[in-house]
């Protein structure tokens, strides 16, 4: 846009303003920060994916000839660390959440734009430490940093990775704090709590979990650093310290962290299903309470990671019972999504394909979670590929599918362009099949007893491992395809218009891409999902 069109044309969109590198790196616009974050997490996604590729290539042969055992350990550790802290945890909140939360509540920006930018810099700084650890030779503790291995025996770069995750944790806290305050104080007139879009509820709930769980991780990692460096042996059995205490503290954070990864995905799916079934989400109030319920109960189930750690049987029973409780609100959500589809006018555009894929894979991942939540079944399945398959169904089949579905759904709003629908549908379907081929055999491997984190395995597991690695190659293609056609659409895609899906959310009421102030005229709200009184 040139400088001439000031009065006659609408305000220039946020992308068209000053686009020098300095302007981008010092921006306080939540929409630009969302794009900075998207670049960051996409980079780390492919970095973590590269480590996964090494793991899967190594496991084609039972003897694991490609990598040495030490390199293999470093590969799966790097894959875990990068994917958990630099992709999955931030993914939907910092990109779609950052972009959409102010738009969905009719605000001009998040409450603390500077803190928002600072969180991106902290995230990148944490990432730099992690990459530095890789360049310095990697780390082999697994992403869980279990003591006393991480504090006494590991000779790899534990410091650098722990510092990286510590720093990135503050980025998460900043984002959560910003979202909570924004949702409380910046809603436009008339937008009461129970008129909020479910995506906003998801962002709010996940922010509560972020803010309450992440400080625990930060201090726990600090204690690991102090134990390695300064002899502060709180987890050191030689002093009478308790290595199991580390596991309790770690999972007190890391189990809620699982919900940090899945709750935003649930918010995205609610928006997509409502749009492409042309119906309001069935049971809106139940959907909000079930999300809050998952967030709350999620803090009380950490012990189900420790059934075989020697914790008391009674603790195990209680943790098991509470873990089963999480299934209730999760099931409510799945039922309500399917009830929304019932008698809906469904169209199978690419975002909807991702959403339907999510519902199926999440359900499968969730159900196998129940198997692992039963102590009697967990004892033989613990630390096998069954666990790997379970959480990849929830994290990759769930969160990543939802993230990509959300990116496709809001792409026209963010960029003002339409991508190639045919290619997008092809990629979504390819991803679904590639995913299942990769991870379903891992359930079978786990059931047959193949342990996780092993560099080599018994020859009878080879067929299933080859299937899994073959699926991973299909999955890799399916992940690379969107990069190609989405970038293509930036230049050659058709103009999207303000509301290409005929969706009802507030974000579709403004132009695409939105102007810096988000809305030239602030809309009003009468009820949930009915922002425009003239809409059907």
């Amino acid at each position: 846009m040139s400088a001439i069109d000031t009065a006659a044309l609408p305000a220039p969109n946020f992308l068209a303003r000053d686009d020098s590198l300095i302007a981008w790196l010092t921006t306080r616009d939540h929409k630009r920060i969302a794009i900075l974050y998207t670049l960051g997490i996409t980079f780390f996604f492919f970095l973590g994916g590269a480590a996964a590729t090494l793991v899967r290539l190594n496991l084609i042969e039972p003897t694991g000839t490609l990598l040495s055992a030490a390199t293999y350990n470093k590969s799966f550790t790097f894959h875990g660390v990068v994917m958990v802290w630099f992709f999955l945890l931030p993914s939907i909140p910092v990109t779609l959440g950052n972009f959409l939360l102010p738009l969905m509540i009719g605000a001009r920006d998040l409450a603390f734009p500077r803190i928002n930018l600072a969180s991106w810099y902290l995230y990148m700084l944490g990432g730099l430490f992690t990459i530095a650890a890789l360049l310095a030779g990697g780390v082999d503790t697994g992403w869980t940093f279990y003591t006393p291995f991480s504090t006494m025996f590991a000779n790899s770069n534990v410091y650098l990775v722990v510092i990286g995750v510590f720093v990135a944790g503050f980025s998460t806290i900043f984002t959560g704090l910003n979202f909570i305050v924004t949702t409380h104080t910046m809603r436009m007139p008339g937008l009461t709590w129970f008129r909020l879009p479910l995506f906003v509820w998801a962002m709010y709930t996940v922010s509560l979990v972020m803010v309450l769980a992440t400080p625990v991780l930060a201090m726990t990692l600090a204690l690991i650093g102090l134990e390695r460096g300064a002899g502060v042996g709180i987890f050191d059995p030689a002093l009478g310290g308790d290595p199991l205490l580390f596991q309790h503290l770690f999972w007190f954070y890391s189990h809620p962290a699982v919900y940090i990864m899945i709750l935003p995905a649930m918010g995205v799916i609610s928006e997509i299903v409502a749009c492409f079934a042309r119906r309001r989400v069935f049971g809106y109030t139940f959907m909000t309470y079930s999300m809050l319920g998952i967030g709350a109960v999620g803090f009380l189930v950490w012990g189900h990671h420790m059934f075989v750690s020697g914790q008391s049987l009674y603790a195990g029973i209680i943790f098991s019972l509470l873990s089963f409780c999480v299934a209730v609100p999760s099931a409510i959500k799945v039922f309500n999504w399917t009830a929304t589809l019932h008698k809906g006018d469904i169209s199978f555009d690419a975002p909807m394909l991702y959403a339907l894929g999510f519902i199926g894979l999440f359900m499968f991942g969730g159900m196998t979670g129940l198997i692992l939540a039963a102590p009697a079944l967990d004892v033989p399945l613990h630390d096998t590929y069954f666990v790997i398959a379970h959480f990849h169904y929830v994290m990759v089949g769930g969160s990543v599918m939802a993230y990509l579905g959300g990116i496709h759904y809001w792409w026209p709003k963010i960029t003002g362009r339409l991508y190639s629908e045919g290619w997008a549908r092809f990629a979504a379907i390819l991803m679904f099949f590639g995913f299942n081929l990769t991870f379903f055999p891992q359930y079978m491997l786990g059931y047959l007893g193949m342990p996780r984190r092993y560099h080599s395995y018994l020859p009878e597991y080879q067929l299933l491992n080859i299937l899994s690695s073959a699926g991973a190659s299909i999955l890799a293609v399916a992940y690379l395809l969107p990069i190609a056609y989405l970038l293509w659409s930036l230049r050659y895609g058709a103009r999207a218009g303000d509301n290409p899906w005929n969706a009802r959310g507030l974000e579709w009421q403004t132009s695409s891409p939105p102007p810096l102030e988000n809305f030239t005229r602030r809309p009003t709200v009468r009820e949930a999902y009915a922002y425009d009184e003239t809409a059907p």
Binding site: L212, L239, D242
Partner: protein
């Protein structure tokens, strides 16, 4: 557009940022943000207190022996210093609200001074523990059946008081900076949110100490 025009006019003065509707919304957001931040701090220290509790339950005799190595006199003086500073910061805020800038400067300056005094006093404690060979990882050497538990106690002691002192350092520095800004007239009766929020943070640092003091210095001496 009239909405935008009034907002723009409103933003011309009083330092309201563009994305807020009015001053009260901005103040509400800032205060709420600080409360959320304080919640994260509680969980941050919660890890240490939980670890302390578990270790204490495991080794009650060892912790009783170790607790007697701490300096009750200095600890008590430090408690008084911090509590006084918390009072002064509130009086300073009140003086600012009443537009008594010189009083506010003096009170906030005293708060910062007491904060730094706390650190100096704690430094004396650390020095004494150094001479008594009580610092794990550096020179810890104790005899007796409870030596291991004493070392564990001092690990926790250094983690807890270390992180707390770091918070005191940050808080006192912030209050010192605010003192200079108050003296220069950067705040007044209608503009004191920053001072108010820093005072909240200072109270939290104080409250954490109110848990540290009995746990480290007092409980082990009982009985």
């Amino acid at each position: 557009m009239s909405d935008a025009a009034t907002v723009a006019a409103d933003h011309g003065h009083d330092g309201i940022e563009e994305h807020f509707d009015d001053a009260s919304q901005q103040r509400e957001a800032a205060a709420f943000g600080m409360w959320v931040f304080l919640a994260t701090e509680i969980l941050f220290f919660g890890v240490l207190f939980a670890s302390y509790t578990i270790c204490r339950v495991l080794y009650p005799q060892g912790f009783a022996v170790a607790s007697r190595h701490t300096d009750l006199v200095l600890g008590t003086i430090e408690t008084v210093v911090l509590l006084t500073s918390s009072t002064l910061v509130m009086l300073g805020l009140r003086a600012l609200q009443l537009d008594r800038r010189r009083a506010a400067t003096a009170l906030l300056g005293s708060t910062a001074a007491l904060g730094f005094a706390f650190l100096v006093l704690h430094g004396f404690e650390y020095y004494r523990e150094y001479t008594e060979r009580l610092i794990p990882g550096l020179n810890f050497h104790q005899e007796g059946p409870q030596a291991r538990a004493v070392e564990l106690f001092f690990c926790l002691y250094y983690a807890i008081t270390g992180f707390h002192s770091l918070h005191v350092l940050i808080g006192a520095t912030l209050i010192l900076i605010l003192t200079v800004r108050v003296a220069r007239g950067a705040f007044g009766p209608r503009r004191h949110t920053t001072v108010e929020l820093t005072a909240l943070y200072w109270h939290l640092v104080d409250i954490v100490w109110l848990f540290v003091f009995p746990l480290i210095y007092l409980i082990g001496r009982a009985g």
